[in-house]
Symmetry: D2
Subunit: 242 residues, 4 copies
């Protein structure tokens, strides 16, 4: 069975700001969904979308049980995602759900819950970024050149307050003088979390061929190998006679 | 200036259960404080204690600002620590406070906040444990033999749902047939968290010479190299002309 | 195209010792090759074998270029593998070749070259082992229970002198009182190395269903995402005008 | 007892090239030794130096036994260090010796032995570098600002073929458009290895206050907690009756 992808987008900027709507007329989620639909590693996948305006943000327990990988874009409306929804998403990750967090999602509630750190960083709108592969053998970087550029992207700069990633895949160079761990992997419970820094709403980043390749590879990589129904401590009998 | 240590103990069992009081008549915190007072790596340190019964659990912002390393023992009363207190402790860790979490503290609110995982494990009261050094060169294991035993300890068993530790120092072997990552280090923000599995309230673990050596070494190791007042994202000017 | 697997076995014990030949009449490599041939994750794979007695150990540059994953079993004849052959294998790993190292291969020349440490451990023949999953969500543990037993296996015990693994998947418990990081992953260059502790020549370990599942999963997981022809430092032009 | 530091420098450029001699008239080792002599974390330390021209490179077993931390600078003469000397140094690290490897030492024999990878990178002489703290709470970065600049330094760029560091402390930004993991820690056996990228022979890098602070902190941090005489596998008796 193919991977069941759910693309979640707060979908606020695109409806309110004409400049953003010009870049993503039907919303960032639609462009991401299309990217996954044509990615070679995701043949057979199904792609759904959900937004903040959906009942329960479109993120119920039932929906998450039928999802293998959740892709998250949010920015100005992090606070409008209910705490219980954020907890539900995080718990599903611990039970195996794959999670891909994009750009300003570093400050989303589910990501912060799963990291346990402040997730703060330096930022500045409107810079030029060059991304360098730091672990070129990783499957998420399959088909990605040693470096590639995004002509306009929001600068996110170190120090980035995250736990040491299990793997740092890309390091970003910014023309304004900063660096950033721009693509990082974290195992949390049975699930995996992939954080990817590019993707400001004003920029056509999600049309970029390398970005699309990376994100599709990432969805494939974080798809769960195992799911669980429970996160309980168990009181167990001894396995050995004493 | 010496390290400023604060030993926090929920201090419930010792007051309610005679068998526990027999082991720790004045409370686990007193025994730990004494251990730190005589540890060679902690010359010049000051040791204070606080318990759940103190106003604000004895864990105010002012107290934590004057603390370098917080040592935490809790078990039956995790839920009585207010959420805001747990958040305050976790935020101080991100700003540099060292945190040593003992035994059943794997389920304490500050530890769970900082890990981002469920922190679940297998458990069984009353087993025998042998602890093996997995990273014998680490300063926290200075003076500790390759393996040592605790004749009675509560079994905690894998899988232990924590993020991959930055370092796994000890692996526990249990007579009942289980294993456990019994001593783990995690960097979180500017702070460091050391988790140590032995230390059930019914057992004289905190009188054990190896345990005392490890815990004193750990306090010394997680003492902060830097503190910060803020956990904010900063919007910064470019450093390079473009 | 399916994964191209090469199973290398020194193939000495099986020809010299009747007790070993009774367990692996045609050699350990044949049993492993059969396991891979029937593994669900390896549909379409091709499996070849090579041994110490082959010209150049069966490990020429041409053969390694046509191999995706090399599986290595060796014990008494590590020193008979020429240094140049070991270097060739290690360099192919750095260029992307996947490597699965079994049991006493912890002391094989290619593994030691890739680890950079002494790879020493404690050992004792003839014990009983129970293996616990420490990272149950990892694809290499797909389909593997939380714990499983091997009734007779050689004890390998901590401290195991290896660099901190990128992931520790299994921790072994031994009836004689030791523990061991029994399944570990290491990224080295473009390649990945999986070390698996069970597999002493006198024991029917490679007929065990869980072991076969793990090894097949591991071969699938370490298959390369990218290969390179070169390991050279490059003197490069600036990408930015200054 | 204070830390016993040995600064090793191949000491070739400074004797052969007037431009280099102008920067380091008595050799890089003298400037480093002076820096350690005045570092606040190294009070009580003793500092010796050795060079390629000394008998046995000044790196005998006896000398290394009396050394806590070895600091290594080499570039054009890596191949003149005998293989046995490199092996001796690496084995001492595994037995506890701290090792600080500077700049072009990424290609020194001891570092390559301990990493197990090719240690290749991109390079270009004469760039400007800004170093960013990626783990600002680490003791090696005590007193170091969030970022600092070196006006002329040799560019080293990703991908850098090293195993995932235990910690990445600094990430370098280069005006020419590259990034680099410029300060990395690795535990190997009982020892620790600190790699630091700046320090080209033509540049006054080792006079820079931040660089001196970092290197002194690093020497203090990698000083051994434990030494061993042996790297042997031991055949051990069972600890449990069965």
């Amino acid at each position: 069975m193919g991977i069941r992808i759910l693309v979640w987008n707060e979908f606020v900027h695109e409806k309110q700001e004409p400049e953003i709507a010009a870049v993503y007329p039907e919303g960032i989620h639609r462009v991401l969904a299309a990217a996954f639909g044509e990615h070679p590693a995701l043949a057979g996948a199904t792609v759904r979308t959900a937004t903040l305006a959906d009942p329960d943000c479109g993120l119920t327990d039932a929906v998450l049980r039928e999802t293998d990988v959740l892709v998250w874009w949010g920015h100005v409306a992090h606070h409008l995602v209910p705490d219980e929804t954020a907890r539900l998403v995080a718990d599903h990750v611990l039970r195996g759900l794959g999670l891909v967090v994009l750009h300003s999602g570093h400050f989303s509630k589910p990501f912060k819950l799963l990291m346990g750190t402040s997730c703060t960083l330096k930022w500045r709108d409107g810079d030029r970024e060059r991304l360098w592969t730091a672990s070129p053998g990783h499957p998420i970087l399959r088909g990605v050149p040693e470096h590639f550029e995004l002509l306009v992207e929001e600068m996110y700069g170190e120090p980035f307050d995250i736990p040491t990633p299990d793997e740092t895949l890309l390091i970003g160079w910014f023309a304004g003088g900063e660096v950033f761990r721009s693509a990082c992997l974290f195992r949390r419970g049975l699930g995996q979390v992939f954080y990817f820094q590019p993707g400001h709403e004003a920029n056509p980043t999600f049309y970029d061929a390398n970005v699309r390749r990376i994100l599709g590879n990432a969805v494939s990589f974080v798809a769960p190998a195992r799911r669980s129904d429970s996160l309980d401590c168990l009181n167990v009998e001894a396995l050995e006679k004493r």
